[in-house]
Each structure stands twice: as structure tokens, then as C-alpha cells.
């Protein structure tokens, strides 16, 4: 047996033994997801904590990070095997976190050794939950137009300003934040700072969305003192860090176009609602055709995701390819939820009933409409593809 086959066999055996049954159930709502952090509440499901700790013990919350920072030190091939084996038994992610998907990769590339040792292991163990302070009220898609300022006050920066669309700012422990340290240069005057959300002068206000949820916040900074050691990368060179991190964010969001582990809610839901006719086909032929053509695209995108990850790991992916993945994945996800609503009919519209599982389908449908806005709108992604991949001229 090759060493990879041995690894697969051992991984399969360990997962079988250690993934609790409740962690193999599909995620039903946002509140089902474990985000970790100082304020995490595991009273509702202690399995979440147990499972996260067991995985973190092996470094498997961040399998491809180096072991000295709490990772599993796995090779790309081993990481892929671990993910396949988890998918096989429909295991949930032990921990969801912007620390894992966004800050971690940026710190690994741009952080000092001290910053890596201080922050990465806490991310890996789910001890600190991070949020991202990028967007500002007057910047929108023009991200580099941000105004939040950080003044040099000798031993610290003094931060003042406002962020918006800060996902889970009210639940996060720390923030990674873009601030203006030089007003004379747009992209060349931005720095990348980390600080504790419990610092004096930080306040948050949730924003209620059309889905009835409020995962986003307005975040205010009023004379927040941030130690100089919390600057990541060089002063005024934060845009490089930000762009690198955005690539990872887009990669993460593009994953929404993929089917969730196990089953197929769209097809299963349509069969349950509409039924099959005597020849075994969905009783609504037009809905069936729409779903079938959608599934073709979803499966093709799944192959694209596999290709993208493989190319990324081999250093063969175009640096702007995450824009394509983000664009395609989020548009696909919107279509999926539109079809789920169509299949559900009036039942799927009920907002708070048992029948609709608390309006889960409608809320998820409404939430997906933001996919093509957050993390750079679809139009911004198309601009990036046109300019950086197709090299079309600027006006």
C-alpha cells in the first residue's frame, strides 16, 4: 500500500471513530455552524465543541497549515484525502472561521514570526473568532476609497472611523482591518491592522437584512489605541495583504456554488413537493428541465472547483482566477435557491411556520442575493477578469 493509501485508511478509521453522529447531519441554519470564539455557546450541542477539539488536537481544523502554528502539516494530496473522507461520511466542518479562510493565509504569507505564533494556533483551536474590517459606507465596491484613519502616536496607532457590512462584528473577538495611514496615495496609503474588539472605543450595531437575519454590522472606531506590533506587513503596503486575502475570500465564497455535503436538497425537495409521474420523472416537466440544466452547470462547476484548487496548489492558477470562481459560484447559488423556491411553492414562502422550518428556504433564498454583492460584486469580478485575464484595454 502506498503511503497515501495508508493515510486514507487511517483517516477513514479515525473519522469513523471520532465524528459524532450529530456532526454528520446537514447544516440546517446559520446557528448550526460552529464559528468558535470566546463567546461561543456550546450548551445547545456539546458535540460541536468535542468534535472541534478532537480535530484541532490533530491539527485538522487547518490541515494544510504547518504544525508549529496549530496545523496538521498535511501535503496537498493528504489534505484532499482528508476532505474526501470527511465528505464521504457527510462530516461537517469542525470549525468555520474567517481566521481560517482569510486571515490565516495572509498571516502565513505576510505576518512576522511573533504574529504567527500569537494568532494562528488560537485560530486553529477556535479560541478567537475574527471579523473583517474592509468595507466602508462611502467606499462600496471602490474598496481602496476607504477613510478610516490610523494616526501614528509613537508606540501605538490611534484609529478613528467607521466600517460597514462587517460580518458578525458583534460576535467576533478580534478584527483585521484596513486603515488609511497616508492620505496622499489611494492604494499606497493603506495599512493592515489587527486588534481586539474589546478595545476601548470599538462599538457595533447589527444591520437587519431582507432575510430577517443580521449577520452584518456597522462598526465604529472612536480613538481606538492599537499597539504598533499589530501592523501586518509594511506601513502603507496593506493593499497587497488585502488583495491576497480577498483572493482567499473569493475562493471561499465561490464554494457556495457547490452542493453541500450529502444529498441534493434541490432535487430531493422538488421530488417531495411535485412528485414523480408514472414514468419516474418529475411531474412538472418545465421545472424538471430547469433543474436538470441547472444540475449540469452545478456539476461542471464542481469540476471547475476541483481544477481550481489543484491548479492553485500547483501554482498554475491565474492570480485573478478567484474572481471567475466567485462570479460563477455566486450566480449559480442564486439560481439554485430560485429553483428551490419554485419547487417549494407557497409552502416555501411561509415565514415562521413549522411547515417551512422557520422560513429556512425563503431566508436562505433571500440571503443568497447578497452573494453577488459581498466580497466584490459580480460586476467588479467581471471587470477584473476583463482587465487582468483577457487584458482588455482601459478607457
Amino acid at each position: 500500500m502506498s503511503s497515501l493509501e495508508t493515510f486514507r485508511a487511517e483517516t477513514r478509521a479515525w473519522l469513523k471513530e471520532n465524528v459524532p453522529a450529530s456532526m454528520r447531519e446537514p447544516v440546517r441554519s446559520d446557528t448550526d455552524i460552529n464559528w468558535g470564539g470566546r463567546r461561543a455557546d456550546y450548551a445547545k450541542n456539546p458535540d460541536q465543541k468535542w468534535y472541534m477539539d478532537a480535530m484541532a488536537e490533530r491539527g485538522w481544523t487547518v490541515p494544510d497549515w504547518p504544525t508549529e502554528y496549530g496545523g496538521g502539516g498535511l501535503s496537498p494530496a493528504e489534505t484532499k484525502i482528508l476532505r474526501e473522507e470527511m465528505r464521504r461520511i457527510k462530516a461537517r466542518n469542525p470549525l468555520n472561521s474567517f481566521g481560517i479562510s482569510m486571515l490565516g493565509p495572509a498571516l502565513l504569507k505576510y505576518g512576522t514570526e511573533a504574529q504567527k505564533l500569537k494568532h494562528l494556533p488560537k485560530i486553529a483551536r477556535g479560541e478567537i473568532r475574527w471579523c473583517q474590517g474592509y468595507s466602508e459606507p462611502n467606499a462600496g465596491s471602490d474598496l481602496a476609497g476607504l477613510a478610516t484613519s490610523a494616526e501614528d502616536r509613537g508606540d501605538h496607532f490611534l484609529v478613528n472611523g467607521q466600517k460597514v457590512w462587517t460580518s458578525y462584528a458583534d460576535k467576533a473577538d478580534w478584527i483585521f482591518c484596513l486603515v488609511r495611514t497616508d492620505r496622499t496615495s489611494k492604494q499606497g496609503g493603506i495599512s493592515f491592522l489587527l486588534f481586539d474588539m474589546e478595545s476601548e472605543g470599538v462599538s457595533t450595531r447589527p444591520i437587519l437584512l431582507i432575510s430577517g437575519y443580521s449577520p452584518f454590522c456597522e462598526t465604529f472606531f472612536d480613538n481606538v489605541k492599537v499597539p504598533k506590533e499589530n501592523l501586518v506587513g509594511e506601513l502603507n503596503k496593506g493593499w497587497d495583504v488585502a488583495k491576497y486575502l480577498l483572493g482567499h475570500e473569493r475562493e471561499m465564497i465561490s464554494g457556495m456554488g457547490l452542493q453541500s455535503s450529502g444529498g441534493n436538497p434541490l432535487v430531493d425537495g422538488a421530488i417531495a413537493m411535485v412528485g414523480l409521474d408514472e414514468s419516474g420523472r418529475l411531474a412538472d416537466p418545465l421545472l424538471r428541465a430547469q433543474i436538470a440544466l441547472f444540475e449540469v452547470r452545478a456539476k461542471a462547476f464542481s469540476a471547475m472547483s476541483e481544477r481550481f484548487i489543484d491548479e492553485l496548489k500547483a501554482g498554475k492558477a491565474h492570480p485573478a482566477q478567484p474572481s471567475m470562481m466567485k462570479y460563477y459560484g455566486t450566480e449559480l447559488n442564486k439560481t439554485r435557491h430560485e429553483l428551490m423556491m419554485a419547487a417549494g411553492g407557497s409552502d416555501a414562502l411561509e415565514w415562521d411556520s413549522m411547515q417551512s422550518n422557520g422560513g429556512a428556504a425563503a431566508r436562505a433564498w433571500l440571503r443568497t442575493k447578497g452573494n453577488s454583492i459581498e466580497g466584490g460584486t459580480s460586476e467588479i469580478q467581471l471587470n477584473i477578469i476583463a482587465k487582468r485575464i483577457l487584458e482588455l484595454p482601459s478607457q
Binding site: 422538488a270 433543474i291 498554475k316 485575464i389 484595454p393
Partner: protein, 375 residues
């Protein structure tokens, strides 16, 4: 296996790209069309394909071929697509070889295919829309069989040396069992071919089998068990057609992007207009996803995976949709010049439509997917 071309495959792609672009660019197709060439492709070019080793790409080394897989065949097909090169490669070296590969027929036909002497045609469809329903009959007669019925959309069917024919030896039209696949030589008596010129200037024949007698050894595989080699043939043909479409759609997209960078209006390059940039970027995204779907299907076919059939349908449907978009957007973004015969982009549109139809269109394959998934 990672989902990108390895170094050897990339080298083969470079070789194929240079070769096809040099020997069979779009003007080769134009000249065949303008002279109303009765064959529809160049036998000389087919010989050159043989000299390059391409003709035997899927044929085992022991039989004189290169012993490579569907990924490598696809690499060649993509360049054929990019240059709109009329060629019997897909029918002969991909679809026919896939069916013959595990049969006793290989000794009879592989040498000719490898050497570029033999051209094969695939006779499956009996109606204007592809389907696996086979009504054509093959009745036992003496030592062999007697074939009666009609086939259509048979590319190169009027000049092929070998015609692979799916016929029914038992059961009724829609049954999967009871099909037998035959290798019929072109000089068989009572076989007539009526070549039709298609929209893309290629020739596809309507074949009439009016009691065509073949020997028992014309059977590929087993009598009544033809659905096995037929499935192999169709999987290879569909995947190959998908790879060729990648070339057609990619070639059209490249032409269009080049045009956007060169054409000026309102005092600026039209490629600087956001409306056109977004259309071009959308085409790019669709083509990239299609490319991944094709590579996935090729890998699974080469690995003999159970998941190959679904992946092949996904590849065929996705490339049909993406390539259709690419050629349509290509004509649109070229403006009026895109509608002229003189300009090449319209040729891409015509070829894309033919390949989209070949071996089942996007709707057919979406339907296959739905059936397999039980809805």
C-alpha cells in the same frame, strides 16, 4: 490525479497546436467548401495525421498505436476545433477505436487506421434528434446477418472505408438489450449513401441498408450485447465532440477578444467599453467551467470509472451551452462584419451548432442526468 494537463500532455498540446494551425487552418476549410469538395476532408491531411501518430492515439502500442487516453485525444481534437479543420479524426480514431478496442475486429481495422488508410463513420442516429432508440433490423442470414433500415447524420458516411452500425437483433426500438454493433465495409452490396451538405460545409450521409449482407465476423463484441461497445463508442464520441467544442468556443473567444482590442469606435478601442468587457468575461467564465467538465470526463473515462457516464453528459451539455454562447457573443461583438462570409467568426458559429447536435444536444444530456438521478 490533479485536474490539469501534465507536462507530457502539455507538450502534445503544443505539437498538435502547431501542426493543425500550420496544415489545416480555417482557410483549408474555406478552400474545400469553395471547390465543393465531394469528400469533405483531405485524404492527404489524414495521411499527415498518421505520420504524426495522431491516428492511433487511442490504439494500444501493441497494435501499432500510441496507447494514450482520452485526455490526449482531446488535446488533438481541441486544436481541430480551434482551426475548424475538417477531419475524420473524431469518428475514426476516437469513436470507432473505442468500440473496436476490445473486440476481435481490432486486427482487421487498426492497421489501416494507424496508417491513415482507413476512415470510419458512425451510423447510430435514425432520426433528426439523437437518441439511443435503435429500430434498424439485423436478421440472421446464412453465416451472417442481413441489415435493413436507415441511418442519418453519418459524418463521412459516403466515403468511409468502415461503417459502424448499431442494429437490432432482438427486442423493440427502445430496449437496451438486443442491439448488435456491426463493422460494415464500404463496398457492401445494397448499401447506398446520400451525402448532405450541412450548415458548416461538412458532409454527412443518409445511409440506406436495403438487405446488406455481412459475415458473422462483422459483429463487434457479442450478438445482442452491442450496447456495451456502443456505450464505449458514444462515451468516447461525446467526450471527443466536447473537446472539439472547447476548441471551437475557445477559438471564437480568442478571435473576439483580439477584435475588441483592435477595433476602434467613438474614439476608443471597443474592448474598453464595460458592456463588452462584461460579455467577454462571462464567456471566459463559461468556457473555463466547460474545460474543467471535459477534463473531468476524460480522466474518469481513462480510469474506467463508474462515474464516467454522468461526467460525459455533463461535459457534452456544458460545452454545447458554453460554446454556443461563445460563438453567439463572438458574432454579436464583431458587429456587422461578423455576419459576412469573408470573416471567419461565422464559420465558428456553424461548426458549433453541428457539434452541439452530434451525439446528443444539451437538452438530451440534461435529460440523461435527470434520469440517472431518479427524477
Amino acid at each position: 490525479m490533479p485536474l490539469y494537463l501534465n507536462d507530457e500532455q502539455t507538450m502534445l498540446a503544443d505539437t498538435a497546436r502547431d501542426f493543425v494551425a500550420q496544415h489545416a487552418p480555417v482557410k483549408h476549410l474555406r478552400s474545400l467548401r469553395d471547390t465543393s469538395d465531394p469528400t469533405g476532408f483531405s485524404r492527404d491531411l489524414w495521411k499527415q495525421f498518421a505520420e504524426m501518430g495522431f491516428t492511433g492515439i487511442l490504439i494500444p502500442e501493441g497494435d501499432g498505436g500510441l496507447g494514450l487516453g482520452h485526455i490526449e485525444a482531446g488535446v488533438v481534437l481541441e486544436e481541430i476545433g480551434r482551426n475548424l479543420s475538417p477531419s475524420p479524426f473524431l469518428a475514426t480514431s476516437v469513436a470507432a477505436v473505442a468500440a473496436l478496442n476490445h473486440s476481435a475486429q481490432r486486427d482487421r481495422w487498426f492497421f489501416g487506421i494507424v496508417s491513415g488508410e482507413t476512415v470510419a463513420a458512425i451510423a447510430v442516429d435514425e432520426k433528426a434528434k439523437h437518441g439511443t432508440g435503435i429500430a434498424m433490423r439485423a436478421e440472421r442470414s446464412g453465416n451472417g446477418f442481413r441489415l435493413t433500415g436507415t441511418k442519418q447524420f453519418v459524418a463521412h458516411g459516403h466515403v468511409a472505408d468502415l461503417i459502424l452500425v448499431a442494429a437490432r437483433t432482438a427486442g423493440s426500438a427502445e430496449d437496451e438489450q438486443g442491439i448488435t454493433l456491426f463493422a460494415v465495409p464500404k463496398d457492401a452490396a445494397n448499401l447506398s449513401a446520400d451525402p448532405r451538405r450541412l450548415a458548416d460545409s461538412s458532409l454527412a450521409a443518409h445511409l440506406t441498408f436495403d438487405g446488406v449482407e455481412v459475415d458473422a465476423d462483422a459483429v463487434i463484441g457479442e450478438v445482442d450485447q452491442g450496447s456495451l461497445p456502443l456505450k464505449a463508442l458514444l462515451a468516447a464520441g461525446r467526450t471527443g465532440a466536447s473537446a472539439e467544442m472547447l476548441g471551437v468556443g475557445g477559438g471564437a473567444a480568442d478571435m473576439t477578444v483580439a477584435y475588441l482590442k483592435e477595433r476602434k469606435q467613438f474614439g476608443a478601442h471597443i474592448g474598453s467599453f464595460q458592456a463588452l468587457q462584461h460579455r467577454a468575461a462571462h464567456v471566459y467564465a463559461e468556457m473555463e467551467v466547460a474545460r474543467a467538465a471535459v477534463l473531468k470526463a476524460q480522466q474518469l473515462l481513462d480510469a474506467g470509472s463508474d462515474e464516467a457516464e454522468t461526467a460525459v453528459s455533463v461535459a457534452k451539455a456544458t460545452t454545447a451551452l458554453a460554446t454556443t454562447l461563445s460563438v453567439q457573443e463572438g458574432v454579436q461583438m464583431h458587429g456587422g462584419i461578423g455576419m459576412t462570409d469573408e470573416y471567419d467568426i461565422g464559420f465558428y458559429m456553424k461548426r458549433a451548432r453541428v457539434l452541439a447536435e452530434l451525439f446528443g444536444d444539451a437538452n438530451y444530456h440534461a435529460d440523461q442526468l435527470a434520469r440517472a438521478a431518479g427524477y
